[in-house]
């Protein structure tokens, strides 16, 4: 099963510029999480900190009992073998063709014969739809292809934690949909902990179990997807709907004068850039392709969420309760329209180590 990643009070700055501070969150083992945030809020920096490429000044990142911020270089290399990371631009090795790029981790870390390597590499290339491009150099293919090759390389060692930096950027909507499905299928098959960083609202609404958002040097929220999707927080509402009206500006901060001017424009009938409907609200999550195993993470998450449901905002509670079957509602002792009260006792025996 995937591994839990615990982040506590993390702060990162470059010189005098603080990127984000006091970020605290837990990526539950085997679940899919998405981190949203406007451009430049440090999402990529956050991912790089999680794999120890950047050293935050304060806080901890605990994986399997090891604090990545302070552990030895040797230990860090050990821990990194559990990760599969997709970089924003693919980060393929420019001097190797796609085949060698994807085979690289296998050749470095396993004693597989060339025939086995070939089988695995071709399987992963087929998975991301790159069959026939084995001999191409990274400089000779499109950005979207580089991205998919980067993903194939990240997956080749069957990682326990998968980090994806904007898997959708540079991809068309159809490929993005395939990719979302691919990530969910992967999660069903190998039960890896997955963190996706993106601005893509569709991914945010349909893929994750947990959703978070970074803005103005802080983690605005992080929790079960229902919480963010039903949130009244102005930043979240603006971001999900892609409006100009709201606290997010072209540059990070928006001053009150600009905000007032924009409000005046909007009142005068000038479109604020969004479609008229509000896309907030909970829509069903993507399921694994029929024939694949059921996602264990879904069951674990349901248990986990139901044990903290009384702490969530009312709208989120209702969203969660509505998504349960009647039978489950009875089992957890909750009703549509009524606030969830006491912590519901878990109806299934707890599994070891699962929150």
């Amino acid at each position: 099963m995937g591994v839990e990643v615990v982040v506590e009070g993390l702060t990162k700055s470059f010189g005098k510029q603080t990127i984000w501070q006091d970020v605290t969150l837990t990526l539950p083992p085997g679940e899919v999480s998405v981190m949203l945030g406007p451009s430049g809020t440090g999402k990529s920096v956050f991912l790089k900190s999680l794999v120890g490429l950047l050293k935050p000044e304060q806080g901890k990142i605990v994986i399997n009992g090891t604090d990545l911020v302070r552990c030895s270089e040797h230990r860090l290399y050990e821990i990194r073998k559990m990760f599969g990371v997709l970089f924003q631009d693919g980060a393929l090795f420019g001097s190797m063709n796609l085949y060698d790029n994807i085979a690289f981790p296998l050749r470095e870390h396993t004693r597989k014969t060339e025939a086995e390597v070939r089988r695995i590499v071709l399987e992963k290339m087929e998975m991301v739809g790159l069959v026939g491009a084995e001999k191409k150099l990274p400089g000779e293919i499109s950005g979207g292809m580089r991205k998919r090759a980067g993903l194939a390389r990240a997956l080749v060692l069957d990682p326990e934690i998968i980090l994806c930096d904007e898997p959708d950027s540079g991809l068309d909507p159809v490929r993005t949909a395939y990719l979302s499905q691919l990530l969910i299928d992967l999660n069903a098959q190998i039960d890896a902990t997955i963190l996706i960083v993106t601005h893509n609202i569709n991914i945010a609404r349909t893929v994750p179990d947990n959703l978070g958002m970074l803005f103005r040097r802080e983690l605005v929220m992080f929790g079960p997807r229902e919480v963010l999707l039903t949130s009244d927080e102005p930043v979240v509402e603006q971001f999900l709907n892609g409006r100009r009206l709201g606290p997010i500006g072209m540059s990070e901060e928006k001053d009150t004068a600009t905000m007032a001017a924009e409000q005046a424009h909007a009142d005068a009938g000038h479109s604020d850039g969004s479609t008229s409907e509000d896309v907030r609200g909970i829509i069903p999550q993507i399921e694994p392709t029929p024939g694949l195993p059921f996602r264990d993470a879904v069951r674990r998450r349901k248990d986990r969420v139901m044990s903290i449901i009384h702490q969530l905002p009312y709208q989120a509670q209702q969203g969660i309760i509505e998504s349960l079957t009647t039978e489950e509602q009875v089992r957890y002792g909750v009703h549509v329209g009524a606030p969830a009260a006491a912590p519901a006792p878990s109806p299934w025996p707890r599994q070891g180590g699962v929150l």
Partner: protein, 261 residues
């Protein structure tokens, strides 16, 4: 919780510290198996290919200038018979390591720095680290060793070409006698002169490789940063090399007694 103290010169000290740290890491990692033989051979070949021709072209006039200068000087003080020895010593001990250093830093080091720098900004280095492969072991060590090897070989080549050039100019242009040139050669020159020359070249190759790798792995933001890094790498290497050359020469002259004294 790394608090960075700041006082004048702290930045420079910090950089120097990191540079030394990289040097130590490289030395340590050199002995880690498996040795990256392919990369080493490719890099050696690459550095040779960018340095051999310019080195040959530089060393001929260098040898000639030294021979001509010494030739007229020795004639003025009436010591023609020592022209050969003096020019050979000057070429082997000083000129050839310096020429080698300039070319290893200017041609080889800048290529290494640009290569690593562009890999860094394309995030290839990060990706490699995340894949659990140490870029120092995989990329830096073979390059530094290649720079050292090529440096030693080039030094040998510069010595030979320089000495031949000196001989040619002295004998043909200044009517020196071939016999005297060769005889004085063995009267003053000794084997340690060659060793110190090669040792210098080895150390210069190491320094050039480390500085190039360090600057390449830490470019300051974006493609422009890589350009600046290459530039700085060459300048820093030159400064370091001339300084180290001074130190080594001083030590050598103190430690090894001159022949015939």
């Amino acid at each position: 919780m790394t608090t960075q103290t700041s006082f004048p010169g702290a930045g420079a000290l910090r950089e120097t510290g990191k540079l030394c740290q990289l040097g130590i890491d490289v030395v340590r990692t050199t002995f880690r198996r498996p040795f990256q033989l392919r990369e080493f051979i490719q890099q050696s070949w690459f550095i040779v290919s960018v340095t051999v021709l310019p080195t040959a072209l530089v060393s001929i006039p260098f040898g000639a200038v030294i021979a001509l200068q010494l030739g007229s000087l020795t004639r003025q003080i009436g010591a023609q018979s020592f022209t050969g020895a003096a020019s050979v010593l000057a070429i082997i001990q000083q000129a050839s390591p310096i020429v080698t250093a300039l070319l290893i830093a200017g041609a080889g080091g800048s290529a290494i720095c640009a290569d690593l720098g562009s890999r860094k900004i394309r995030e290839e280095i990060d990706a490699m680290e995340v894949l659990g492969v140490s870029p120092i072991h995989r990329l830096v060590v073979p390059r530094v060793l290649a720079a050292m090897l090529v440096s030693v070989l080039l030094n040998g080549m510069v010595s030979v070409v320089g000495v031949l050039g000196g001989y040619f100019f002295n004998v043909i242009m200044q009517d020196g006698t071939p016999g005297a040139y060769l005889a004085s050669f063995s009267a003053l020159a000794q084997l340690p002169d060659l060793w110190i020359s090669e040792l210098k070249a080895l150390i210069f190759g190491f320094i050039a490789g480390i500085v190039a790798a360090y600057r390449g792995l830490n470019p300051a933001g974006g493609p422009k940063g890589v350009g600046d890094a290459v530039n700085q790498a060459v300048v820093i290497t030159f400064l370091l090399l001339f300084f180290v050359n001074f130190v080594l020469t001083t030590i050598y002259l103190q430690v090894v007694p001159a022949k015939g004294s």
